[in-house]
């Protein structure tokens, strides 16, 4: 009797562990997630013309220091803009009201993140406030489109144009890597 008790206990905990693992895989690694409790924080919103492929969970940083996460991405159907809700760690409660938010890329092909730049105002952003100054995501396709248009105009001196065209694409990741 004693032996079968411990055996049942072992079987039971194994099965429980297995189903816990399955539950973790379906809820924590996919987008149908259930978010666990988060530390003290406050919310800010910002409206962008274009957010590129910014995703929920992307980091929000200032001077390269991570301050929070993107928690929600919505759409304002009056202004036709994307509304990004950010959750900022309660420790960083001194962000000036005239700060601006821009969307940057981590590396050349990496994900997008939001970089905040502090303004000079004496008042600070509070919960549910909106950041008014925003800069849209840098969309690679638009840049290439512009370059192609320049090529068409440039015509003959395509070689010198080409070296110029390569330059921003190559320096871009270095520039954003510094901000990381």
């Amino acid at each position: 009797m004693r032996k079968s008790r411990t055996l049942d206990l072992g079987t039971g905990s194994f099965v429980l562990l297995g189903f816990a693992a399955l539950f973790f895989l379906t809820t924590q690694t996919t987008s149908r997630g259930i978010t666990l409790a988060s530390p003290p924080h406050y919310d800010l919103t910002a409206k962008f013309d274009n957010i590129g492929d910014l995703k929920v969970g992307a980091p929000v940083s200032m001077s390269g220091v991570e301050m929070g996460r993107v928690t929600k991405i919505g759409f304002d159907s009056k202004e036709y803009k994307a509304v990004v809700t950010m959750q900022i760690d309660a420790r960083y409660n001194q962000i000036p009201t005239d700060s601006d938010a821009a969307i940057y890329t981590q590396g050349l092909l990496g994900g997008k993140f939001i970089g905040l730049t502090a303004g000079g105002a004496e008042t600070y952003l509070k919960n549910k406030d909106q950041i008014d100054f925003t800069q849209s995501a840098f969309v690679l396709e638009n840049l290439i489109g512009q370059l192609l248009a320049n090529f068409a105009k440039g015509g003959g001196q395509s070689d010198s144009d080409k070296s110029k065209a390569d330059a921003p694409a190559v320096t871009q990741p270095k520039a954003t890597e510094k901000t990381k």
């Binding site: 189903f19 693992a21 690694t29 590396g107 990496g110 994900g111």
Partner: protein
């Protein structure tokens, strides 16, 4: 001429073996509903096949995940997209490495134990003794072991994947310095329920394959010490080949 004859012979043997295994599977399935009444026997086999394999599965999962983290980081760093490490590790583990490596380990750990146990029962006439007492050895001995393996395998594969993802996270985020939030958020954005389903389907199929091969080889082992040894070896070899072959088929079916 001789060569062709021998080839034909071995091909025929393989076909006969396949047919016999298929027939054995049908026999097991036919006996399964009544064997389900003895849940205690099945739970004991889940313990033998699953709980006792936990340590090796968890250790292997951890190291496979850590290696994935290291290799993936080196590769992705070249393209400046280390943040995709979470996606790469999760998809690799959930869809491929989790089910396949778990199944190979399962064949080595639980499959051999099943085959040698059944083979020894055959060699020491315990199975004949049961038949004498009008106890159906298939229902009393074989089916609980088969079902135990079938139930344990998907759970082990899921545990392997989870530990592996944490292993990749350990190396990628804690040691190599990938942003933890990006690691998880890119993973969540890229991994769908379909990927998880593929992993579950694969591990279920591998569970049936491994357990079936093990009980078949053990049950029909030659009743000698040598025969039991051969049955054990054959269990591992056949399981490995079938796992990798079926893995290709299932992957193709899910594309």
């Amino acid at each position: 001429m001789k060569l062709i004859e021998e080839l034909w012979e071995s091909l025929r043997d393989a076909l006969v073996g396949l047919g016999a295994v298929a027939r054995f599977l049908l026999r097991l399935l036919a006996a399964a509903p009544r064997a389900l009444l003895r849940l205690d026997l099945i739970s004991q086999q889940i313990y033998n096949a699953g709980a006792l394999s936990l340590v090796i599965i968890m250790l292997s999962g951890l190291f496979v995940g850590m290696v994935l983290g290291l290799q993936g980081f080196q590769l992705l760093q070249r393209f400046g997209s280390e943040e995709a490490l979470g996606t790469a590790a999760a998809i690799g583990l959930v869809k491929e490495l989790g089910p396949v490596v778990t199944a190979l380990l399962f064949a080595g750990r639980a499959g051999t134990a099943l085959a040698s146990e059944l083979g020894l029962m055959r060699a020491t006439d315990q199975i004949s003794a049961m038949e004498m007492m009008a106890v159906d050895p298939i229902r009393r001995v074989v089916v609980p072991r088969f079902l135990g393996g079938v139930i344990a395998m998907p759970l082990l594969a899921a545990i392997f994947s989870v530990i592996g993802i944490y292993g990749a996270q350990l190396v990628g985020v804690q040691i190599m310095g990938v942003d933890g939030g990006s690691f998880w958020s890119q993973m969540r954005a890229a991994v769908g329920l379909r990927d998880i389903n593929e992993g579950i389907v694969k591990s279920c199929i591998f569970g049936v394959t491994c357990s079936l091969i093990a009980v078949y080889q053990g049950y029909y082992a030659e009743p000698t010490a040598e025969g039991v040894g051969r049955a054990t070896t054959r269990t591992v070899v056949t399981s490995a080949v079938f796992i990798l072959f079926l893995d290709y088929l299932v992957t193709a079916a899910f594309l």
